[in-house]
Symmetry: none
Subunit: 417 residues, 2 copies
């Protein structure tokens, strides 16, 4: 099966958003072993969309559309496909009920144009939208499979994963399976990882190994092709062991793991509680931990002390520390971590202070960050970061480094990983 992805939306051609849907769908299709030879982006224009469909039908047999299923007049994907294929649009009662419920639930009145979203291609299999109103569609016609997905990623992604992907997997039968497994590293650069894995990278055929750097992390994607899923996984696991024997100390997780999710896992597993005092991150560390369901037993809370006054009054940081060392200092980070732990009565306290940028803080250049970690009654540990990103990159990196340093400390202390 050869697939082509057609994204519909003038906002893409005007450069207002990037085509992240094609990235998502491509990745999913590659897991299924379906080749994607082209992506096309076309605007909200029926004639040009028709032309794109004609071109795609010459080079693919599975055509996946994203966008243009909404209630407004410039949403014309299904109308254009209907005209192109000579198929009627019919009202889907379940979809209409769902849309009506959506409005009732949100206490808003349903306008007439929203009914348009319940129109589907006759003979299509309707794909449920759990995160929006426009249903998706899947239509088999001659040797072609047409899949219509809504544009917003938060609607498209679960719909593809829960509805379209299983359908395609079933249709493919027991063909060759491609499985990918991602190892996640922190504290090592892409170039260094590559040097240390050079022999493995040179000899790779199947499984393949692909290092990629993103957001301060490095990932290594191991992809195996085999006749069965089991066989692919055996190959992946063997290669994984070889990799971890070399750079295992930097590997913090796999696949959809994140540093915060692994940290929360560890905290919950070890019955540890945590509190944080945040300055430059202003709550981002705690907010990031709180993305993980189940964090409630570990995260007590904390304080955001954005100003000097708040550090003194709300957290009891001594005026002397600030005068002598400034708020961007090891001493201040240590005191923040220690005091917030005492204040909230938790096992762990974290203190984050620094100059996020764009401005320096006194003599401390932008990107200077101190991380304080206080575990029990032991003297707090502190770490200095010298970051060189933008204000918000620096804040995000600070959160990631904090997770990483804290986990390493806990592992060294013998807590369960």
């Amino acid at each position: 099966m050869k697939a082509e992805i057609i994204a519909v939306g003038s906002e893409l051609l005007l450069g207002q958003i990037a085509n992240t849907n094609a990235k998502f769908i491509s990745r999913q299709l590659s897991e299924l072993g379906i080749d994607v030879y082209y992506h096309t982006v076309v605007g909200d224009n029926a004639a040009r969309l028709k032309e794109a469909i004609r071109v795609a039908e010459n080079r693919a047999d599975c055509i996946i559309f994203s966008g243009g299923l909404g209630p407004t007049k410039d949403d014309l994907t299904k109308e254009t496909i209907a005209a192109h294929l000579g198929v009627e649009l019919t009202l889907d009662k379940k979809a209409l009920e769902f849309i009506e419920e959506y409005f009732t639930k949100h206490g808003r009145e349903m306008t007439e144009n929203n009914r348009k979203q319940a129109l589907v291609l006759e003979g299509s299999h309707v794909l449920v939208n759990d995160n929006g109103m426009a249903p998706g569609m899947l239509l088999e016609r001659g040797s072609y499979t047409y899949i219509l997905l809504p544009g917003p990623p938060k609607e498209l992604e679960p719909m593809f994963q829960h509805e379209a992907k299983p359908y395609l997997a079933k249709k493919l039968g027991k063909g060759s399976k491609i499985i990918s497994h991602v190892l996640r590293f922190y504290g090592i650069g892409e170039a260094e990882l590559e040097v240390r894995l050079q022999d493995l990278l040179d000899e790779q055929t199947n499984p393949t190994l692909a290092p990629l750097a993103a957001d301060g992390e490095v990932t290594l994607r191991i992809t195996a092709k085999a006749d069965t899923e089991e066989a692919a996984w055996t190959m992946i696991n063997e290669k994984k062991e070889e990799v971890l024997a070399i750079v295992g100390e930097y590997c913090y997780g796999v696949d959809d793991d994140s540093l915060p999710s692994k940290l929360v896992d560890m905290l919950v597993k070890n019955n540890l509680t945590i509190a944080a005092a945040e300055s430059l991150t202003a709550g981002l560390f705690q907010a990031t931990l709180a993305e993980i369901p189940g964090v409630g037993t570990a995260l007590a809370g904390g304080v955001v002390t954005y100003t000097e006054q708040a550090k003194i009054e709300q957290l009891g940081i001594s005026v002397e520390i600030i005068k002598e060392h400034s708020v961007v200092s090891s001493e201040c980070a240590a005191a923040m971590a220690f005091n917030v732990r005492e204040k909230f009565g938790t096992e762990i306290g974290v203190g984050l202070t620094g100059a996020a940028g764009p401005d320096a803080h006194g003599s401390e250049p932008a990107g200077t960050v101190w991380i304080g970690i206080s575990i029990g009654q032991e003297p707090p540990l502190t770490y200095l970061l010298q970051l060189s990103g933008s204000r918000n990159t620096n804040r995000l990196r600070t959160v990631k480094f904090t997770c990483s340093y804290l986990m390493r400390n806990l592992i060294e202390k013998g807590y369960k990983n």
Copy 2:
């Protein structure tokens, strides 16, 4: 002039990266008034790239390529174009010198395959690469303009801006200008916005109006085409006034504005200080405000009270309120807002409490959120949200609604907008 952008790279078709180059180039072209009707992505495969070029030549006269100019064997963009057009590749001496210098400068030895990067299409204008080794090219051939750019955004972007864009602007002469201006709305759905703007949408020709929903907001893009930038802006501003006369109450900003950036603007402009007490958002509201440089004079800080105990001990929420109304209640949100304002001595206090999900909080279903706003000594105001997204969507929406409600309150109280 009609342009098509062809991105070359199998990593795009495998979903490893998104085609952000097309976004960048499109935005630049729209500023020049050049219409982009299609984006195409194709892998590192000569036959399929040729097919993409043939298709593009049928529907565009300016074809812009990104990627495939590097030293490795799978970099074949210029080779394929050379074969397609029957043009030779010749060694560009300046490019070769530049590459040799690059290696000397970085203290690395130049491998033979790097010479390949100095081969350019005969008769082309060579585009200097200030951030990498592969030069770009610009070739006029019959009625077509072919522009070849390197794949890495940090090489492509300056090359396009400094070399290709001025060339195209000159070629266009004083042609038509296309300017887009985005109005941003909150608290109104896309469908409702469209109904209320129906007459304007029906009669649109130039400027055009395009509504778009994303992340709980609705935007309306006004795009005008005129001979000069000034004339385009006059048309946009006239249309904008018509739009705002109808739905102005929901419009919170334009272009790159965000709800948090507008709120921070307002706080700074009016010399107001703010503190927040956060439960379900766990610091996300404060962290979001802190993304905006200059927030330091407005944001004092706040507390994250994730547990009941923290609400009682750290914020002085009375046990009676919690017992009688639970922590997910108007009363609790009001007390959190009031108490954190008093505690931090700010003009404004915000209290956020709710069930982010996936689990309900007692009898309160997931997505039930109370926002408390305390301004000065007046009784706090509270707002109920019934959200239906995922845990993190609900937390993000809560932050956006908080910004929106707080701004409306401040505007009603006569603060400068």
